[in-house]
C-alpha cells in the first residue's frame, strides 16, 4: 500500500485538545487507526465527539482552536498546524465526511450529479468536467440508487432521505479516501432505511479498504458496524477497546450507564429501565451468548404480567378512544391549470379502539400517517371522514368551542422539547396554562400550589417554576412538557415521539417517569413512535401504520414475536437492539 507512512498508521492523533477562549471542549484525545479499521466514537450531546471530527477535518468553527498532533498517512505535516490551503487538498481527497442530515447537507439549488462531480473536479482527480459527470453517475449507481442517471439530474428535494444519504456517501467516496468520517449518518433516517444505509456504508468501506470513523450516540449501530469503540464523556475518552469487550465488560461507570440506559430489553428489579444512576446492578449482554435475545424477551413478558392483566380484560371495558374509518385527504397544488387537484391520502380508513388504562403504541415510519392521526385525536386537525370519540365526545366536526372539554381529557407531550415550550414564558405559566380554560375562575394561589405539586411529581425542583425554558436541558424540558400535560388531570395522555430528541441516558429516565405517571394518574397512554424498542418497552398494545393504513394490530408480544404482515416483519427485522447486534457480530 502506498498510503503507508513509516508508522504504518492511517491516522494518528495524539494529545488533541480543543478549546475556546473560556473553556476546554475536548482534552487529550488519542486515536490511532490502521487502514481499513472501523472505529466507533460514542458519546451523548455535548460530549465533544462532533468537535473532534471537525478538528480532524480542520473545520472547527470560528473561535475554537485545537492543539496536539494529527498525522494522516501520506502527509508529513501535523494537520493541526496546517494552513487551510494545505487542508483543502486533503479534505474530500484523503479524508471525507458524511453528515447527519442529508437534506440540509446538500445544496438545495444544485443537481445531485454536479454536487458529486464537484468533489472530483475540485481535486482534479478526473480529466474533465464531463468525465466527472460520467463518473458521478457511476458512483451513484455503486451506492445502489435505482436509475443513477436520473438521480444525477435530480435536485436533493426530489430524492428521499435514504437516497440523499446514499448520494452523500457516493460523494464522500468519490476520490477513494483513506479515511471516511461519518457523523450520525443514519440518525435522521427511518428504521428500515437506516439498516440499508448502514449495510451500504459497511460494504463500501470493506470493499475499498477505507478506514471508518463512525460517530454516533446509538450503541446498537456501533455494535453493528465497528470493531473498536471509543466512549467519550465531557470531552474525554473514558473507555476504549474492542467493541465486544467494551460492551460486555465495561470498565468505566459511564460506559456501563450508557449501555444500561440503551438496553431497552433489560429492566431492573422493579421492571423499570436502567438509568445511569441505577446502572451498577446492570448485567451487560455477553457478546458470545446467542440465545440472550429470547431470554430477554421472556423476562420482559414475565415482568409485564401484572400490566397485561388489565389489557387482557380490555373487551369488557368500554373503550375510551374509539376511531372509526378515519380518512384525511390533503389537497395539494394542482399540476395543471384545468386538471384535477392532486391529493395526499394521509389516512385511508383507520379504525381502532383504546380501552381505559391501556398503553397503546402507534408505530410507523415517516409518512405513515401517524402524525396526522395524532393531530386529529387531539382536535388539532379535522378528518375528511370517519369518527373519533375520545372520552365520550366526538372530535370529528367539533367546533373549537366544543373541544374545550376534549382538551381537558386529552393532553399531548410533543417531540421537540426545544420548540414546544414558549421561550418567553416562565415555567410556572407554561405548566399552569392548561388550567386557563374559558369559564373557569383563575385562582392563582391554587394554581401555584398545583404547579409546585406537578414539578415535584416530574422530579424537578420547586424553584424551577420561576425560570425560563432555555435554562433547562432537553430531558428537563420534556419533564416540563409532561407536567404541563398532566396538570389538568386528563384521562388520556398522547405522547408524540417524546424521547426521540433526547440522549440515551435521559431517554431511560423520561420513559421511567412516563411509565410511573401513567400508573399514578391512572392514565390511558397513546404513544406514537418510530422506535420499536421504546414502544416495546412501554406499550402493551400496538398498531403498526404504513402509508395511511393500519397494517397490523395486537398485543406487543404478538407484534414483536410473530409479526404477520410483511411490512411489520421488515420493520421488526430492521430495528436494532443492542443485544441483537451484539449477538449477530
Amino acid at each position: 500500500m502506498d498510503k503507508k507512512t513509516t508508522t504504518g498508521a492511517l491516522i494518528d492523533v495524539r494529545g488533541l485538545t480543543i478549546s475556546t477562549k473560556h473553556r476546554t471542549l475536548v482534552s487529550n484525545f488519542n486515536l490511532r487507526m490502521n487502514p481499513g479499521d472501523r472505529v466507533g466514537l460514542i458519546g451523548e450531546s455535548g460530549s465533544g465527539k462532533s468537535m473532534t471530527t471537525s478538528a480532524l477535518m480542520g473545520l472547527l468553527p470560528e473561535g475554537v482552536s485545537a492543539s496536539g498532533s494529527i498525522q494522516l498517512a501520506g502527509h508529513p505535516r501535523n494537520l493541526v498546524e496546517a494552513t487551510d490551503r494545505e487542508l483543502q487538498k486533503i479534505r474530500g481527497k484523503d479524508m471525507s465526511m458524511v453528515f447527519q442530515e442529508p437534506l440540509t447537507a446538500l445544496n438545495p439549488l444544485m443537481k445531485v450529479g454536479p454536487q458529486v462531480a464537484e468533489i472530483m473536479t475540485s481535486h482534479k482527480t478526473v480529466a474533465s468536467k464531463s468525465a466527472a459527470q460520467a463518473r458521478a453517475v457511476e458512483l451513484l449507481g455503486s451506492v445502489k440508487l435505482p436509475d443513477p442517471a436520473r438521480a444525477a439530474r435530480s435536485y436533493p428535494h426530489q430524492l428521499s432521505g435514504g437516497q440523499r444519504q446514499r448520494a452523500m456517501l457516493a460523494m464522500a467516496l468519490a476520490n477513494n479516501p483513506g479515511l471516511l468520517l461519518c457523523d450520525e449518518p443514519t440518525t435522521a433516517l427511518d428504521v428500515t432505511v437506516q439498516r440499508q444505509v448502514l449495510d451500504l456504508i459497511l460494504e463500501s468501506v470493506q470493499e475499498r479498504g477505507t478506514g471508518l470513523l463512525f460517530i454516533t450516540h446509538d450503541l446498537s449501530v456501533v455494535a453493528n458496524v465497528c470493531d473498536r469503540v471509543l466512549v467519550m464523556n465531557n470531552g474525554q475518552v473514558v473507555e476504549e477497546g474492542d467493541t465486544g469487550e467494551v460492551f460486555s465488560n465495561p470498565q468505566h461507570p459511564y460506559t456501563r450507564g450508557l449501555l444500561a440506559a440503551s438496553d431497552l430489553n433489560a429492566t431492573d428489579a422493579d421492571g423499570r429501565l436502567f438509568t445511569v444512576a441505577s446502572a451498577a446492578s446492570y448485567i451487560p449482554p455477553l457478546a458470545e451468548a446467542q440465545p440472550v435475545v429470547e431470554a430477554a424477551n421472556a423476562e420482559i413478558s414475565d415482568l409485564r404480567e401484572h400490566d397485561q392483566a388489565a389489557g387482557d380484560t380490555a373487551p369488557e371495558v368500554p373503550s375510551l378512544i374509539s376511531v372509526k374509518d378515519l380518512t384525511r385527504i390533503y389537497p395539494v397544488g394542482r399540476s395543471s391549470l384545468f386538471g384535477k387537484r392532486s391529493e395526499v391520502h394521509a389516512l385511508k380508513g383507520v379504525s381502532f379502539d383504546v380501552a381505559a388504562g391501556q398503553r397503546f403504541g402507534v408505530v410507523g415510519e415517516s409518512g405513515s400517517g401517524k402524525s396526522t392521526l395524532l393531530r386529529i385525536l387531539a382536535g388539532l386537525d379535522q378528518p375528511t371522514s370517519g369518527s373519533v370519540r375520545v372520552a365520550g365526545s366526538e372530535v370529528a366536526g367539533a367546533k373549537e368551542r366544543d373541544l374545550v372539554q376534549l382538551r381537558q381529557q386529552l393532553q399531548i407531550v410533543f417531540q421537540d422539547p426545544m420548540g414546544s415550550l414558549d421561550p418567553r414564558m416562565r415555567v410556572r405559566d407554561i405548566i399552569a396554562e392548561p388550567l386557563l380554560v374559558p369559564g373557569q375562575k383563575v385562582d392563582s394561589a391554587k394554581h401555584r400550589k398545583m404547579v409546585a405539586e406537578m414539578l415535584g411529581s416530574v422530579g424537578l425542583p420547586a424553584d424551577a417554576a420561576e425560570r425560563f425554558p432555555h435554562q433547562f436541558s432537553g430531558g428537563q424540558r420534556q419533564r416540563i412538557s409532561i407536567a404541563r400535560a398532566l396538570i389538568c388531570e386528563p384521562r388520556v395522555l398522547v405522547a408524540d415521539e417524546p424521547v426521540s430528541a433526547l440522549d440515551v441516558s435521559v431517554r431511560a429516565q423520561v420513559l421511567n417517569l412516563l411509565s410511573d405517571l401513567v400508573d399514578d394518574y391512572h392514565l390511558t397512554l397513546v404513544f406514537v413512535s418510530h422506535d420499536l424498542g421504546v414502544v416495546r418497552h412501554i406499550c402493551d398494545n400496538v398498531v403498526v401504520m404504513n402509508e395511511g393504513r393500519i397494517v397490523e394490530s395486537g398485543t406487543t408480544e404478538q407484534i414483536y414475536d410473530s409479526p404477520q404482515h410483511a411490512y411489520t416483519r421488515t420493520l421488526v427485522n430492521s430495528s436494532m437492539s443492542l443485544r441483537n447486534e451484539l449477538a449477530l457480530r
Partner: protein, 315 residues
C-alpha cells in the same frame, strides 16, 4: 413552469380588475363635484350641467366606470377635469422618467449592496466587516432628501461639476441626460444600497451557517469558493424578495428626490394632482402604479422559479 406563469398571468388580470373597481369607488366616495370644483362656487346651474355633460359625470356610475376602465388597457386615460388635457401622453412621459430614475438607482444599489453585504457577512467578526456594517446602518438612517441636498451642495454648488437640477430625456441630449441623472440616482441609490447591504449581509450570514456550506468545505473547497459556488445563489432568494418590495415602494418614494432635483416624475405628478383635486389624473396614476407593482411581482415570481428548483411545480 408554463402553468405557473399562466396562473400568475390570470392572477395579474384579476387583481388588476379588482384594483380598478376599488380605485374608482374610492375616488367617487370623495365628496365634491368635479364640475363644481372646476367652475368655482359662483357657477350657474346651466353651466354646471353643461360641464358635467362634458366630463361625463352626469351619467350613471356604472357607465362611467366602464368608460374609464375599458380605456385603460388601450392606454386611454381620459381628459383631466382640471387641466382639460389628455392624461395619457403626460403619464407616458412621467412613467419613463420615473422608471429610468428608479431602475438606474436600484441597479446601482444592488451593485453596492451585493459585494459590501457579502464582505460584511464574511468578515462579521473582523473590524473591517463591522465598519462596513456600521456605515450601512448610518446609510439606512439618512433620509434620501438629505442625501440629495448634500450631493447638490457638494457637487453642484461647491464643486460645480454637475447641474443642480432639471431633466433632459436621454433621446434628446444624452450627455446632458447623464449629467442631470447622476446626482438624483446617487441620492436614491446610496440609501437603497445601505438598506439592501443589511439584507444581503444577513442573508449571507444565514447561508454561511447552512450545512451544505460545511459539506462544500469538507469536499475541499476554499472558504470563498464554497460561498460563491454554493452560498450566493441561496442567499439571493431572500434578497430578491426585499428588492422587489423596495422597488415598488421606490417608484412613488422617489417623489421627494424628484422635488429636490426638480424632476418631472410620476410621484410629482401624483402629488400635484392630489393638490389640484384632479381626481381622474390621480385615479390614472394609481392604476399605472398598480400595474407596475404587479409586473414587478410577476417578474420576481419568474425569477424565483429560475433560482429555486423547489418552487417549480411537477418537478
Amino acid at each position: 413552469m408554463g402553468i405557473r406563469l399562466l396562473i400568475n398571468l390570470a392572477r395579474f388580470v384579476v387583481t388588476y380588475v379588482i384594483a380598478t373597481v376599488a380605485v374608482f369607488l374610492f375616488m367617487r366616495a370623495i365628496p365634491g363635484d368635479p364640475a363644481q370644483i372646476a367652475l368655482g362656487v359662483n357657477a350657474t346651474p346651466e353651466l354646471l350641467a353643461k360641464t358635467r355633460a362634458e366630463f361625463g359625470t352626469d351619467r350613471p356610475l356604472i357607465v362611467q366606470y366602464f368608460d374609464w376602465a375599458l380605456g385603460l388597457p388601450t392606454g386611454n386615460f381620459g381628459t383631466s377635469y382640471v387641466t382639460r388635457q389628455d392624461i395619457s401622453p403626460l403619464i407616458v412621459d412621467r412613467v419613463q422618467v420615473s422608471l429610468i430614475l428608479v431602475l438606474l438607482a436600484m441597479v446601482l444599489a444592488l451593485a453596492i449592496a451585493i459585494p459590501f453585504g457579502t464582505y460584511a457577512a464574511v468578515k462579521h467578526r473582523n473590524p473591517s466587516g463591522i465598519i462596513v456594517s456600521g456605515i450601512s446602518q448610518v446609510g439606512v438612517a439618512i433620509p434620501n432628501f438629505l442625501a440629495g441636498i448634500l450631493l447638490v451642495v457638494v457637487f453642484a454648488v461647491g464643486l460645480g461639476w454637475l447641474p443642480a437640477n432639471g431633466w433632459t430625456p436621454p433621446g434628446e441630449d444624452f450627455g446632458d441626460f447623464i449629467s442631470r441623472v447622476v446626482l438624483p440616482v446617487l441620492a436614491l441609490a446610496s440609501v437603497q444600497g445601505a438598506i439592501l447591504t443589511r439584507y444581503v449581509r444577513s442573508a449571507v450570514m444565514e447561508v454561511m451557517n447552512e450545512d451544505y456550506l460545511r459539506t462544500a468545505r469538507s469536499k475541499g473547497l476554499g472558504k470563498l469558493e464554497s460561498l460563491i459556488k454554493h452560498g450566493l445563489r441561496n442567499a439571493s432568494i431572500p434578497v430578491l424578495t426585499v428588492t422587489s418590495v423596495q422597488l415598488a415602494a421606490l417608484i412613488i418614494g422617489a417623489v421627494v428626490i424628484e422635488r429636490v432635483f426638480v424632476i418631472p416624475g410620476l410621484g410629482s405628478m401624483l402629488l400635484d394632482a392630489v393638490g389640484n383635486r384632479d381626481l381622474l389624473t390621480v385615479q390614472s396614476v394609481v392604476m399605472v402604479l398598480v400595474a407596475i407593482t404587479l409586473i414587478i411581482n410577476l417578474v420576481v415570481d419568474v425569477l424565483y422559479t429560475i433560482l429555486d428548483p423547489r418552487i417549480r411545480k411537477g418537478a
